[in-house]
């Protein structure tokens, strides 16, 4: 635990814990280093492409908690800050990933005790009959205590069209816990922007209890390209030069099509690309080199239906249609 390695202050300054010592100096950098939070922030920077507003906000929260911790050491009283958050953004913009990092950061800063992330959806919170919801919700909340409760697609909790829906009961319990057990639990609500807005509109209590509304922007073309390369590198593949141009073109077209889910679409596309690469290797006569096994060629990408169907509306692009030239 990080608690033990920062309590004996290893800098030579006078102990800041001494009461009434207004002149005690504290090294913020030292504190930052001791908390190891910088590593998490750096990793966040490295592994998550783009998302500048999100990273800025996380940095701000980390700074606040760090300063708060220092204040506590100097025995300056202050209320524990409310850290409930809402993550809004289109599909595939990294909400879940960031939530996981958030749990880690809060743990490093000793705001949460266990650093665990309990991810739930409506199913886990809302019961099927009268009297079933409250114990179910409480069970989940208890399980998440000391860590972060991540409610994905939180707007499904509230169904205004069905007045006998039990979701409201679940929301009420959540509200109560978010208010009374602020030290024990951080709640992160996630979902698509417009639906979350509607959810907060119909639950003003929820809106006021959530201190941080973080919006995840869509990725730009260049960011998606970087993501594609990162993902591929993680799988130990690489693009050939032509393939890189092809994927760039692929992303440009795919972005304009319906059901575009940012990084998730890219991952799916890469999965299919690997499929086609394996297929091609099978069709290739003769022995293969290691280079062959790890290289994705342009033809694997250009075979995608995205190139043939252009602007048309369809659910996915899993076709392995006849190869056509890129536009």
């Amino acid at each position: 635990m990080s608690k033990s390695d920062d309590s004996p202050k290893d800098n030579s300054e006078p102990s800041p814990a001494a009461e009434n010592n207004d002149n005690a100096l504290i090294d913020l950098q030292e504190e930052l280093r001791a908390s190891h939070v910088q590593e998490v922030l750096d990793r966040l920077d490295r592994e998550l492409v783009g998302l500048v507003p999100v990273k800025t906000r996380i940095r701000e929260i980390a700074a606040l908690l760090l300063v708060d911790r220092l204040r506590k050491k100097l025995a300056i009283a202050s209320e524990t800050p409310t850290l409930h958050m809402s993550f809004t953004g289109n599909p595939g913009t990294g909400k879940t990933t960031v939530a996981q990092r958030m749990a880690e950061i809060l743990h490093r800063l000793e705001y949460s005790r266990t650093g665990q992330l309990v991810a739930v959806t409506r199913d886990d919170l809302v019961g099927q009959y009268i009297g079933h919801t409250a114990p179910k919700t409480k069970e989940v909340i208890k399980r998440a205590m000391g860590g972060v409760l991540f409610i994905d697609e939180a707007y499904y909790l509230y169904r205004p069209e069905n007045e006998r829906d039990y979701g409201q009961e679940s929301i009420e319990i959540l509200l109560q816990v978010m208010e009374n057990n602020r030290d024990d639990l951080v709640v992160i609500l996630a979902g698509y922007k417009n639906r979350m807005d509607r959810f907060f509109q119909s639950n003003p209590g929820m809106r006021s209890r959530v201190a941080h509304h973080i919006d995840f922007p869509d990725y730009t073309h260049d960011e998606l390209l970087t993501i594609a390369k990162l993902m591929l590198a993680e799988l130990n593949y690489r693009f050939s030069t032509e393939a890189e141009a092809a994927i760039s073109e692929y992303i440009r077209i795919r972005m304009q099509l319906d059901h575009f889910a940012n990084a998730r679409s890219i991952r799916n596309a890469l999965d299919r690309t690997r499929l086609r690469q394996a297929n091609r290797l099978f069709a290739t006569p003769g022995p293969l080199s290691k280079q062959d096994l790890i290289t994705i060629e342009a033809q694997e990408i250009l075979t995608s239906r995205v190139f043939t169907e252009g602007q048309r509306d369809f659910d996915g692009d899993k076709g392995t249609d006849q190869p056509t030239a890129a536009s």
Partner: protein, 141 residues
């Protein structure tokens, strides 16, 4: 006169604060025990099986969840005895490892010794809790 009953661990000490309770629960969780909250209004020392406040909590990682249940139980049965029990399953059966009282009634009237003549000049003794003279539910109101 109030007689504090002494059942379970720590019962000769002053009542535990919430912080102390949390630390005890933390110890239980760290050892992998399942923690259970129970309540009763019968203070007899042989009253082993208390009412369960919800099912035992197996999968919690943090004491806050259990303290939450303790507080919920206090809200509902503030004037009852409430205890926290920890069960260890590593022996193959759930065996009680730790049990301590976290809540007791405002006023504990204590016990009376009952003597009964039996065969010959033999005496049998029994403990009778004054509070059980009232029906269950009205005992500590």
């Amino acid at each position: 006169m109030s007689i504090r009953i002494t059942q379970g661990t720590f019962s000769f000490l002053p009542d535990l604060s919430d912080e102390q309770i949390t630390k005890q629960i933390k110890y239980c969780i760290d050892n992998g025990f399942a923690v259970n909250v129970e309540y009763t209004d019968d203070p007899h020392p042989r009253n082993t099986y208390w009412e369960m406040w919800g099912p035992p909590m197996f999968d919690l990682k943090d004491p806050a969840g259990i303290l939450y249940e303790v507080n919920e139980c206090r809200k509902a049965f503030g004037n009852h005895y409430i205890r926290v029990s920890a069960f260890d399953a590593s022996n193959g059966v759930e065996s009680l490892r730790l049990s301590f009282i976290v809540n007791r009634p405002q006023d504990e009237p204590g016990f009376r010794l009952e003597r009964t003549d039996t065969n010959g000049r033999n005496m049998r003794y029994a403990l009778h809790a004054y509070s059980t003279e009232k029906p269950s539910g009205d005992r500590y109101s």
